[in-house]
Subunit: 319 residues, 2 copies
């Protein structure tokens, strides 16, 4: 059963209107090369060209713009070292409110700098989940800020759903819509938007084999988090949450898992052939296309390229 608090079609349309002036309406591009090697018709939604370089700008903006005024002025908080931290910092600065970001002390300098550049106020903590949660509670107590969870939050899910809304509006009659799955914010939003606005489409999630909690949870019907998974797709190391799991169980048709090698190959091939920088997490659905071409042959598939934040000094195919 999908929790009744999850966004319906009206909430997704309202989110799209609400965030429309702040975020990018990203382009949908095609690739003769990928069409030819997969014998299918592919439409890539370029969320790597989104503000802050990832779809996360959608959810963060929607979550902040729907905060009640008395909470809004005290700001927002989260623990994250990834794109959500950047997106929340960016969206908060657009709204003129503070964003308090708890980051592990071993977070890469490039990510710390990005959060700082977007105006986030960083508190460092020990690199354990307990320390992150405890530090976040401390920060919230001191500041009165509202926690914005990266994915287990209805307003975040409604925001992320607007990417698939735009994709289904721009390319009618998609037969498959596919997104990567980590915590499930993007995939559950994609599934809801597709169910509401293109109910004939199948929805696929794509996940690294090495962080396959969504596949295990989907297959067994039991929420089964991963413990410290190690995949190059750093945005997909998180596990499904209590809100995203039921949506995925009910509205997603298949979870496809892919190897680390196939992720690196897919990432490089998109750079080379499509001239688009995508991060490893974004390459996961492309790796699924290349690993399971028979599922897509002859069909019209929309793929969400979720983000493009990479460290250009360390490319996975270079020594």
């Amino acid at each position: 059963m999908i929790p009744p608090t999850l966004p319906g079609p009206d909430q997704i349309l309202e989110a799209a209107t609400r965030i429309g002036k702040l975020i990018n309406h990203t382009p949908v591009v095609t690739s003769a090369y990928f069409d030819s090697i997969t014998r299918s018709h592919l439409f890539f939604k370029c969320e790597n060209l989104q503000k802050v370089g990832a779809f996360k700008a959608r959810g963060a903006t929607n979550a902040i713009l729907t905060l009640e005024k008395q909470f809004l002025i005290r700001g927002v908080a989260t623990h994250s070292s990834g794109n959500h931290a950047q997106a929340l910092s960016w969206a908060a600065s657009k709204a003129g409110i503070p964003a308090y970001i708890v980051m592990p002390s071993n977070a890469p300098a490039v990510k710390v700098n990005a959060v700082h550049d977007y105006g986030g106020k960083i508190t460092f903590c020990k690199p354990t989940l307990e320390a992150r949660e405890e530090t976040l509670r401390d920060v919230m107590r001191e500041t009165g800020a509202t926690e914005i969870h990266p994915y287990n939050n209805e307003r975040i899910i409604a925001g992320q759903a607007t990417a698939a809304l735009e994709l289904n509006q721009e390319i009618p009659d998609l037969e498959i819509v596919m997104a990567p799955v980590g915590g499930g914010g993007l995939l559950s939003g994609t599934a809801l938007a597709s169910k509401f606005f293109n109910p004939k489409a199948s929805v696929f999630g794509a996940e690294p084999e090495k962080a396959n909690d969504a596949w295990r949870s989907f297959t067994t019907g039991q929420l089964t988090p991963s413990v410290n998974p190690e995949t190059i797709a750093d945005g997909l190391r998180t596990s499904l949450g209590s809100l995203t799991f039921p949506v995925i169980l009910e509205c997603v048709d298949n979870i496809l898992t892919v190897s680390e090698e196939s992720i690196v190959h897919a990432m490089r091939t998109v750079w080379e052939r499509m001239k688009l920088l995508i991060e490893p997490s974004s390459a996961v659905p492309v790796a699924a296309l290349l690993t399971y071409p028979e599922l897509f042959a002859g069909r019209k598939t929309g793929i969400i390229l979720s983000g493009g934040n990479c460290d250009l000094d360390h490319l996975p195919w270079l020594p």
Copy 2:
């Protein structure tokens, strides 16, 4: 005096219609980052997302589709190791005719493979201009193919002009339109399209200091080719031709030259901030923006990102 054989507004509009179904209508993207550091309003025309990864697909397609039938069936020929060779091979295969490409024996394998993959028939020669021209004459004599020069050709220029036509149509009232300059096919097309369809705009060319023949020719009024220039912007090592020079002299307002360091920095910054793969030649106008921000401050500028064909095993900022 612009030679009367050069395309007028009708020829450019006809070229756009003629090639429209084969090439990509590439997106125009913006960047809050570049707007902010240059204090201007920038619109980037993404020809790196064009077929074969470069604007060259436009000119090659127009040149082939305007060939008379008796010439068409014998195919087309050129000597090139760059994007024109790939574009001509691709456009010829779309038209179902052969493309004969003369390449120097030391051309990088990645470029040879790309031409081969697009169906070009390659003849190797010694890596000198004389050998290339002589081998091309031999190939044309044997095959009856028509030479399609990479830039000193009116139909090529009309094709390249369609990029700036689309840019000016999509973003009205641009105050500056800027393109890189090598042989001048793109810049002369850009200048003609802007003169005809947005006559108030200034047109700037951007060129590597190390291959500054266009700047020297523009400044002195005398066509002054470069001799074996060495710049990382490999697409801009060629010199202006007899057709492109007069257009540039009459219709271009300024040629801006940039250092090699600024090209690498601009390239990396576009990758990092805009998530778009551009090749070094494409980074040259971006380097001009960053080198001469005072020329652009407060103004609405369109920039043609000319191509995205890079060797991903050798990035200029990595050891």
